[in-house]
Symmetry: C2
Subunit: 391 residues, 2 copies
């Protein structure tokens, strides 16, 4: 049995370790009942509520009513979850089956002492510590197995703060199979989501908004460049792995959450597709319309519903007014001039990419005239392809 | 005096707190003598060294020889320091005089339990824990006072790992005075640096490369939009504060560190000016040449040196070869066609910005024809101004 002296020494030692880490339980902040704009050093929401005074957001505090599901809590997903947590989102639902490894330390968020813990548990613990006001729900499983997929669908449709569907699903996964699973779930449920990804060579990435029936789904026209669909685990067995950088992943997470905030809080213009090519600081933007012959029958059903919906009458009104109408209408965030559609699907099959990056998809050659309709916002698709090729 | 039983209970309690936090000293990783590309879960550098196999970077491990000074460890600077730390930079020198507050919790990096600590100390502690291989030097002072400014200059010119100048200075400060101090120091020392900033309304930001004598300095032609030069502390007294978002700051930090990596490790194209307008996902790019009548005499001296330096002879060689020459030459990263310069300084005085954002600088009306020379890379300045106005 230890002596009093030895025990006192041990207590002092442990207290010193805790003090040194500045991680004492007593310093965790209390929950805050209501978001305030008061400018005091102790208010974690003052800089966010200032968005109202600056004329950017009308209703910042409404963020507390929203639920966002983040699928994949790796290099992009963990930073995405942290940004949403710091913004004071109402509820987060995190899905991942992986464990934290030291090999993940070249990306933001996780720390070496968390190696070996499940990503969702480690993330939820850190996030609750950063902002205890956010409701956290975690699922430590692979969404692509049959049982888990049904549970995943259930949580998307019933996991919202009000017991209904979540407000948005953010895909931050690193493989084709998981993206297709999210696509099937969201097409089935009519759930709006953002797809995101970074390339295997770590120097490009993208986000893509998918509103079932209104924009191209992942099976209609996936992004030009995504990470390879070879499983990381297979790669690692062969002694190779994809490259990754905290910069590219931080930028993609920033784009993803910024567009999430714009969509949920109704400000600015939500990008349908935004790419990032780090080597040349090039940012392709475009709109992708659904493929009428998409293989996913739920996608075609959502397209039918969307096409049959009465559209708002917009004519001869000033640009400012049109913008307001779009922001409030139930068909999404942007009305597109149908006359400006330039379908150039044939170029997709000729895509040449840098080593280590592959196109996720090629338009089937049997129906070249029925491929996805691509609309330009900034550059022509031809120009875009040229720039992609020149990387 | 406590009983043995009470003390044993206290020891168990403290051990449980530490265990729960998974923050036990024993789990901090050991230093790694040499960067390896080995693909094992325990290697924190495998995903970075994979950049070599992917053909992106020739010499990734050279990053360990470089020293970067980060001035300002707030919303942008802290994430910048974290990204560089995770990338395995050789040495970081951090400057900041501020303390962590709960009001900073809407940005990445700092956590509530660090409230009250100095930003540089809190940052260095977390960063050393994330990657003990990085050498950390911190200075908890305001660089703009006379004594500190001299010490700041000394550390920039002698703080490198080899006892010489640092390789790059990254400005992540939030006020005009500190930017001007960095500008004076870097012009005097001929030190290359990146300026960065986010707007008061939180929805735009930029980075700008400044190579004294070769590109415009901060006094020649500061960025179109920077945070107001009103001191945060003055603002807070009046019950108002600037807005900020973790998204915008994360994106700006990502751009800053990505371009830092490109510059230090010689890959891709380094952007001279890269802006980010979050409302429309618009990314202005341009090149700014120095103002021959810049008020800073050291800027003019550096311009004279640059102009008198013999330029490499580049004629009738394939584009690929030219690129190689530029990457290795001592005049920086890019040779510009002098015939393509379009000086349009007069439009700068007519800049109209969204509420809460102001231009940091207007070209003096006494010398309108001698303003900075602006070169286009992607859009014309006129077009850029139109897009800025339409925000």
């Amino acid at each position: 049995m230890s002596t009093v002296e030895e025990l006192q020494k041990r207590v002092a030692e442990l207290e010193a370790i805790l003090k040194d880490k500045n991680d004492f339980t007593g310093s965790k902040r209390e929950k805050i009942a209501e978001m305030s704009a008061e400018v005091v050093d102790s208010n974690p929401y003052s800089r966010l509520m200032a968005l109202k005074r600056m004329g950017i957001v009308n209703n910042y505090e409404k963020i507390r009513e929203y639920t966002v599901a983040v699928v994949g809590v790796g290099g992009v997903g963990s930073v995405t979850a942290e940004m949403l947590t710091r913004c004071g989102i109402g509820k987060l639902i995190l899905f991942d089956y992986d464990k934290v490894e030291l090999a993940n330390m070249n990306r933001l968020f996780f720390q070496p002492h968390q190696a070996g813990l499940s990503k969702v548990e480690a993330a939820a613990r850190t996030l609750s510590f950063i902002n205890p006001d956010v409701v956290m729900e975690t699922h430590n499983y692979n969404i692509t197995t049959i049982d888990n997929f049904q549970h995943f669908m259930d949580r998307i449709s019933e996991g919202g703060l009000n017991g209904g569907a979540v407000d948005l699903v953010l895909s931050c996964v690193d493989n084709f199979e998981a993206r297709m699973a999210i696509n099937v779930a969201c097409n089935t449920l009519g759930q709006t989501w953002f797809e995101s990804g970074v390339s295997e060579n770590a120097v490009s990435g993208h986000i893509q908004l998918i509103i079932p029936g209104e924009s191209a789904c992942f099976a209609c026209a996936p992004p030009l460049v995504v990470a390879s669909n070879i499983d990381e685990k297979t790669l690692k067995k062969d002694g190779v792995c994809a490259a990754s950088l905290p910069t590219t992943m931080g930028v993609v997470a920033g784009f993803l959450v910024q567009n999430t905030l714009k969509k949920l809080l109704n400000f600015g213009e939500v990008s349908w597709y935004l790419g990032y090519s780090a080597l040349s600081d090039f940012f392709p933007k475009m709109k992708l319309r659904p493929n009428p012959t998409c293989e996913d029958s739920y996608c075609r059903a959502r397209q039918k519903e969307f096409n049959e919906k009465p559209k708002p009458v917009v004519a001869d009104v000033p640009a400012e007014t049109i913008k307001e109408v779009h922001e409030d209408n139930e068909w999404g965030i942007c009305l597109v001039d149908e006359t400006s559609q330039d379908a150039e699907p044939e170029t997709k099959n000729n895509l040449e990419l840098v080593e280590g990056v592959r196109a996720a998809y090629t338009v089937p050659e049997t129906c070249p005239t029925q491929g996805p309709t691509i609309e330009d916002t900034e550059v022509s698709l031809d120009e875009l392809m040229k720039q992609m090729k020149s990387l």
